[in-house]
Amino acid sequence: MSAHGNAIKMQGKDVTVHYGDKQALFGVSLDVPEKMVTALIGPSGCGKSTFLRSLNRMNDTIEGCKVGGLLTLDDEDIYNPKIDVVELRARVGMVFQKPNPFPKSIFENVAYGPRIHGLAKNRQQLDEIVEKSLRRASLFEEVKDRLHEAGTGLSGGQQQRLCIARAIAVSPEVILMDEPCSALDPIATAKVEELIDELRENYTIVIVTHSMQQAARVSQRTAMFHLGNLVEVGDTEMMFTSPTEKRTQDYITGRFG
């Protein structure tokens, strides 16, 4: 279905999400093509994070949250009881909206994922993974002298980059990013965008962003949400130049809300 001809990595069909009585998503059908960046945009509270969290079943952890419809990864229903959530999450990694480093050292924060998944055979490999991940998140230079100090002592932006590094370190197939740059300055943002571009070669990426520019810069496909509905989805270029829906157009030009 992808206009780019890429295979579909993840797919949502009529996805509905309820938080207790409150419905947050009203039947969203969206495909995520492989090795591409899909951006989710839309006004605050429209359900972007909610959809994103359904993709690796992080919604399971919220009490009273019910997900309906069909969601697949490589054609497997990820809400099938037989599916393994842990493996799913290892394959579909996530970076959250609020930076949430563990109360451990910077090194341990990044090493955590590789450790539990047994990705490093020995300490040296682990060091390598950590360094590589920190570099890719453009944090290494800033923290190389204090790898063993607490990750919580970093500035907000540094913390967020740390979380990105942590997610990259387990080399997932899909990376979900919930406004990864909202706490970053332009330079760091540019670096992360570069990184996303780079990652795209091997990984599938879904990114939630508030910045139209960012969506335009990094994504190949864009999906526009509004009030829990998917308004429009399509190639980014098309979306930003000639959106079919009036609401999209209004949103992009900053005319509605």
Binding site: N6, A7, L119
Partner: protein, 437 residues
Amino acid sequence: MTDIALNPVASARPARRDIGLKRRYAAERRFKLYGIAAIAIGLFFLIALMYSVFSNGYTAFWQTEVNLTINLDPKIIDPDNKRATDPNVLLTANYPILARNALAEKLGVPTTNKPAMRELGKLFSEGVRGQLRELVVANPSLIGTTQSVWVLTGADIDSAFKGQIDLTVDQTRRKVSDQQVEWMNKLKGEGVMSQRFNTGLFTYGASSRPETSGLGVALIGSLYMMLIVLCLSLPIGVAASIYLEEYAKKSRLTDVIEVNINNLAAVPSIVFGLLGLAVFINFFHMPRSASLVGGMVLTLMTLPTIIIATRAALRAVPPSIRAAALGVGASKTQMVFHHVLPLAAPGILTGTIIGLAHALGETAPLLLIGMVAFVANAPVTPLDPSTALPVQIYMWANEAERAFVERTSGAIIVLLIFLAVMNITAIILRRRFERRW
């Protein structure tokens, strides 16, 4: 467009990584199992303890009584007919004889048969004196009439009635004679001897006779002490924790206080008794055996528990909440009392529950301030001599008479009910405050 299966890329997917799922899931299951096992162990011991207490103690809530038709004979109560002038006559009259005669009549024993009458006299409790006295003093016009009264049987008869005395052994080896057992069975057959709910267990004070000894004094004493402990240790403990956690600059002094408090938690409870004796009784000249002193000693003993729990709870409140409050211009005090304390409340309540439970069950410190004592008169104020529930349990556990065995367990049940009532309140409060963020 959904026909993905035809897409060649799908089949060229790299093999899945091995992230040791099998092993990790086994670990997960094991971990969860440990949790269940841990709870099961805890509950198993709880049930075992409860079973041993309840199976021994439930009988204490029923007491054997005998229904007697007593003739309140003025010739015995007031032989000289002076009750109008001398109030002491009714107080000191020989009431047990009335009961004995009534019983003798019922069983057809001639009152002239002295040895039989003595045996018979032990069927019912000496407490009948007080019971009839109360009846007559409250209403002197009853004198001369015949009243049907339920009278407590003697403790040994009660034990025999409940099957707690082995009646197969030779009668010289037991406290009830064959004759008495025969009478007992006869009265039981006639339906005039039966078990009735033992209200006395909750109202009587200490007594040397098992059947008339109760937890009245101990309940009042424990109630006073718990009120004192609650009213002192909760505010003081929370206040101290707030100071240490929120106000005090981390310094040598706060370290000293912190270590100090942790250390006080390890001080054997009897040492608090020594402290209470030295400070409250010897120095401040407070009365011995008083629940006020007991309450204060237990307060000092409970404080560390509450402080440690409260500090842990305060520390768990995320700093961002504090920043938020300060950011809108709340003072530190407002920040603490409006935001931090409510969030820490569940932890504080847990500490309080555990601390109070500890205080409620403690005997050793009370030994030294004279509360492990025989106290018959119910205390009116916290300054009067009284005992406490665990003390009564301890003292009954050391009694020789068989009838005290069930009472010991019965008293434990009462203590646990007391504890339950106390905890349920706290638990309801705790649930109200509990929230995740």
